[in-house]
Amino acid sequence: MRRLFRSMLLLSVLFLLGFWMVPPSPLFAGTDDENRFQQANELAAKGKAERALSIYEDLIAETPGDPDLLYNAGTVALQAGRLAPAVRYLERALAVAPDCSDCRANLDRALEGQKDRVIGEKQARTGGSFDAFMEKMHLDALAVTFLVFHLLLFAILLLRRRTASERTRFALALSTGVLFILVLAFGGLLALKAYRYEAARYAVVMVEELPVRKGPNMNYPESFRIHEGLKVRLDERVEDWRRVWLANGLNGYVPEDKLGEI
């Protein structure tokens, strides 16, 4: 009876885990999407960039993380002479596919038409070797390492429950301690990486010219002006205003609706 109860419990947990772990069913692109994509490509080839862009944007609304859609949208926006959406889509394409050389090449071309030249770019964090290490570490690599230790820890805990030999139990307890420390350390690094180092969000200026003010309303004096297509880092939000930072440390407030988040 007891054994049956245990087996049922284990099975139900495994079932629940399995249910949770199964990724959402992959998005199968219907032929309709493919047709629309091809249609947009044909329109772009005929020079009807605006219409092509509108189709790409519809498709992006459905699949916002597809690098090909983003790349094509950015490229046709560039062909249409629309700098801000071009920079925005190409930056987004690079964010989801950092190895996309076409995206990089066309983004560089787009930035040639950007009016602002930010001089004196510096890294936002120059805190030392730890910062450098954290910047270099890949978030998912940390997550996998953390999970390996995490699962090992629990596997050993389960094993210890089934072990009768005192000597083995002692060895397992020791391993548990070591693994617990590793889990804590990697958990801390993972949290730091996720919530401090990768929390930065960026946006592109969507209007031709945008005054940046010292405070979050029109009464504050203007500090400087930025122009269409410039990439800025987003900071605090005060009502409808957002504080933005340039790569060289210049900062100020702009209305949020004038920005397009990447």
Binding site: G81, R117, L250
Partner: protein
């Protein structure tokens, strides 16, 4: 011949001893640290060293003894030229165990309230005791008793005002009145001064107070100051009357207008005369108007860059983040101005435009904080300076002129001159701006100048992080949930026998209560007697069998008891007892029958338990 196991053990022995050796070393270390201080001492403290005739001096003699047996003949100082109004002694004893060593410390504090009897300078102390025959003395304290000093017009200010004689207005309510006391009667424009509202009570207990009207402090900028958390109360004697004086409210005023300024009355309501929580009466009291002279700052020696409001003591610092850069690469100049003034009212220095660099508007921060009775502040500005020419960039010193009220003269604080070595940058050295708007190129592309469109798309979201995905969450939470469930299962397994044991105990307790009630004949009605007897019999059977018998008919009962292994004799007896109970319920009242039934149940119970 030594077995391999024993050899292994021998090899481990020094390692096994390591924690013991470590603990011993740490223990010895702590023992030495613990013994590093020991001794008896005597100290003398007073709450002020300058006072007027009306003030009460609080003098404390603190004797700290760690080895009480060696100390004898503790003597308090003789308070010549002072009248002792009150004296109290309190003792505190601390026992601590540090590193297995028991240490005991006894502190005896004798507090004396003293009233000066004449003017002059006096020495109080020393207090003494003898330790193993040697005389140990405390420090001595010099105290000056001076006459009250009235300023122009016979008005008192500052500490003098607290023990000043009662005004005509105050004499109208001499047991309970308010007094607004400015620190001084004269100050410079821009200078800070604290005014405190004191409540005087004599023979009246005060439990609460509330503001009615606060002065508008015309001619001053006012800021409410935080009162000390442990209160600010003292005892003064004015015209032989003993007053308890308590500070209720305090404001910091910064003079804005020159000339005679009058602070209008401060009105408050005071709940007095009760016994603490209840009773008492609200009284309205107001202060008399207070006059303060605000003088203009001297013209002589006034620097050209002096700005009104810069009165107090200031310090100016400058800091450059680096001394070498390239054209187009910014350096950050941080300027910090600190001073004993409301920093929001101070005009800080500004970095002027530089011929060889572009200076961007600074990022500024101002913060004020209370320091005692003064408001101090800090202004921080960060300038981004972008050199546009190679060579040596000179950043001139920033200056800030202020009037030092303590030294009564103008002073100028300055940052050092900074020099930055600028080398030519290959890339963007020609601009000289952090953000250089260039002529916008038209986005016209020749065919083939852009990378071609991608012919196919996967229609798949990429770039999703594993961290935070459902798989990650499942693998993170799954083991935690599994372990929690196993722990819960263990807990249930552990609790179940304990819970059932406690259930048995409850049953037994209820049976005992029923037995006592029925044996004492306390159950009066036939209904209640019947119910009690049936419950007793059923509980006894449930206790023995562990089965739930509630609601069973007699036949079902017999069947269940038979399954539970109760012998036929006991089963039949149980049924007989229940039937007798039924008979007694519907028959006439029969005390003897009831007693017999109770006795039968007891006999049956004993037999059942065997």
């Amino acid at each position: 011949m030594v077995s391999p196991e024993k050899r292994k053990l021998k090899a481990f022995r020094p390692v096994r001893k390591l924690p013991v050796i470590g603990a011993a070393v740490f223990g010895l270390l702590f023992l030495f640290i613990g013994n590093a201080h020991a001794g008896n001492r005597i100290d003398l403290k007073v709450d002020k060293t300058t006072l007027s005739m009306g003030d009460v001096l609080r003098c404390e003699v603190v004797v700290t003894l760690e080895n009480e047996d060696s100390v004898s003949d503790i003597r308090q100082p003789t308070f010549q030229d002072f009248k002792v109004l009150d004296s109290q002694t309190g003792t505190q004893q601390y026992t601590s165990i540090v590193n297995f060593k028991v240490t005991s410390k006894k502190t005896t504090t004798t507090t004396s309230l003293l009233q000066p009897t004449k003017l002059g300078q006096f020495e109080i102390g020393p207090a003494t005791f003898r330790e193993n025959g040697q005389l140990v003395s405390s420090n001595r304290v010099s105290v000056t008793v001076q006459d009250l000093k009235a300023e122009s017009g016979g008005v008192f200010y500052g500490d003098n005002a607290i023990s000043a004689p009662l005004s005509e207005h105050e004499q109208q309510t001499p047991t309970l009145f308010l007094r607004l006391v400015p620190e001084r009667g004269e100050l410079f424009v821009g200078e800070q001064i604290a005014v405190t509202l004191y409540l005087y009570s004599s023979g009246v207990s005060v439990s609460r107070w509330g503001r009615v009207a606060i002065p508008d402090f015309e001619g001053f900028a006012s800021e409410s100051l935080q009162m000390p958390s442990d209160g600010d109360a003292r005892r003064v004697i004015i015209d032989r009357r003993d007053f308890h004086v308590e500070a209720l409210d305090r404001y910091l005023l910064t003079a804005r207008k020159t000339g005679k300024q009058t602070i209008s009355p401060y009105t408050a309501k005071i709940l007095a005369g009760g016994d603490g929580l209840f009773g008492g009466r609200w009284y309205n009291r107001g202060t008399t108007p207070v006059e303060i002279s605000v003088n203009p700052l001297p013209q002589k020696g006034r620097p050209k860059d002096f700005a009104p409001g810069s009165v107090g003591k200031f310090r100016l610092h400058g800091r450059l983040d680096r001394r070498r850069t390239e054209t187009g690469q910014p350096v950050t100049l941080t300027v910090i101005l600190e001073g004993s003034a409301d920093i929001n009212r101070v005009l800080p220095p500004k970095l002027p435009p530089l011929p060889d660099a572009k200076v961007y508007p600074p990022t500024e921060k101002r913060e004020n904080f209370q320091q005692g009775l003064r408001l101090s502040g800090r202004y921080t500005a960060e300038y981004l300076v972008v050199p546009n020419r190679s060579g040596r960039l000179r950043i001139p010193p920033l200056t800030f002129s202020y009037y030092d009220v303590d030294e009564r003269k103008y002073k100028t604080a300055r940052t050092p001159e900074f020099s930055v070595f600028v080398k030519e940058s290959g890339a963007s050295g020609d601009s000289g701006t952090l953000l250089s708007p260039t002529a916008k190129q038209d986005l016209v592309f020749e065919p083939g100048s852009l990378q071609p469109l991608h012919p196919r798309a996967e229609f798949r979201n990429r770039g999703e992080r594993f961290f935070g995905s459902s798989v990650f969450l499942a693998l993170f939470w799954g083991p935690l949930i599994l372990i929690s469930l196993l722990l819960f299962y263990d807990a249930v397994r552990w609790l179940r026998p304990r819970l059932s044991a406690s259930g048995k105990l409850l049953l037994e307790r209820e049976i005992r209560e029923l037995e006592i009630r029925l044996s004492d004949g306390k159950t009066a009605s036939a209904e209640a007697f019947h119910a009690d007897v049936k419950r007793w019999v059923y509980l006894e059977l449930e206790l023995r069998t562990g089965a739930n018998l509630a609601g069973s008919t007699h036949d079902q009962l017999v069947e269940k008891l038979s399954k539970a292994g109760i012998s036929e004799g006991r089963r039949t007896e149980a049924v007989r007892l229940l039937e007798t109970a039924d008979f007694l319920r519907y028959g006439r009242k029969d005390e003897a029958g009831r007693a017999r039934l109770v006795a039968d149940i007891k006999t049956w119970k004993e037999a059942l338990r065997k």
